[in-house]
Symmetry: C2
Subunit: 217 residues, 2 copies
Amino acid sequence: MEIKVLKNIMSVNDQVAAKNREVLRKNHVFTINIMASPGAGKTSTVLQTIKALQGIKVGVIEGDISSTIDAETVAKEGVPVVQINTGGECHLDANMVQNALNNMSLDEINVLMIENVGNLVCPADFKLGENLKVLIASVPEGDDKPYKYPGMFTAVDAIILNKIDLLPYVKFDMASFTKAAKGINGKAEIFPISCTTGEGVTAWAKWLKKNIKNTAK
Amino acid sequence: MEIKVLKNIMSVNDQVAAKNREVLRKNHVFTINIMASPGAGKTSTVLQTIKALQGIKVGVIEGDISSTIDAETVAKEGVPVVQINTGGECHLDANMVQNALNNMSLDEINVLMIENVGNLVCPADFKLGENLKVLIASVPEGDDKPYKYPGMFTAVDAIILNKIDLLPYVKFDMASFTKAAKGINGKAEIFPISCTTGEGVTAWAKWLKKNIKNTAK
């Protein structure tokens, strides 16, 4: 008797993520899934990036378990934003993002920044339909995080290291962090930035623009 | 026909947690489940607490997805420690702790500090058999965290606010944080501390000693 072996069955999440990707592609929207620990500076980085992407129309999806604090911060800057409250879930999934997309005017934006729930573990496992996965690490968290959260550091296309303005006040060995991150994920570019001083934001935005351009071709 | 309604069925995790609690009680070991974001300073707080609890014998369980960095740091101080690597799981569960307890000399310690995986969401949902749940927040994470992670802030008996030495260098409104935390959890005491300068550690340790004493009665 022949035994059937089923391979490459997409999870329900991956199926919905593929649909999101298609909707976003048709609308020429380049999408970034931004992941980080709580308080690493996701919203500040989103705002700094929007400023640096001058001329490019950006929309934002804010993911939080509870509250609309981040969406209010983004809306104040005149940026179109939808807040997802997961109500306890520790990550965004493709279905939540699908619902958010249905509530956005995709024809009015070129770039979508999705701010995931603050969590360095679970969000790494869920595709949302994004073009790029970006991790924001931050200096006060310490330089050993790549060793402790390898799943997240492996999953991403770029690593932003935020809060470099705090380097004089905390123990953080930049060479050690870079070595650890590169050891786990040799392909991800690392961008040290400070959302407080603006340092490093231009280099990150330049790389992002290049990626947006290449995808649009 | 009578319909049977089953109530108060313990989850498997809660059953194992109850067993852990019983084992720890019999061995007169007071147990603390320490939860926090990645890089909030769990290990530093554990070491500072052990120093402040002078004379009380402490054992440590370190929970991480990967690596033995924290266990090595604790072992260097001559403290008995077992490392749990969850291999991807975003939280410790009672079963993992049961395995760790089987590998410790419980008769040689009075207090067990369990350092959970760095995650402000999932660990709140899993009992381990502890006497106290403690959250370590940290100043660089920002003062809005109680609103964004209400499950964690609700679950705990005490909130340590670490890294107060960084208050001059970041935006953080202490009154706003306290108001938010107290609004969500009026019972949890808040202890502002700095593991770098040692400030506030005595007050936290004093409260902890009182709890240990009351439980021993």
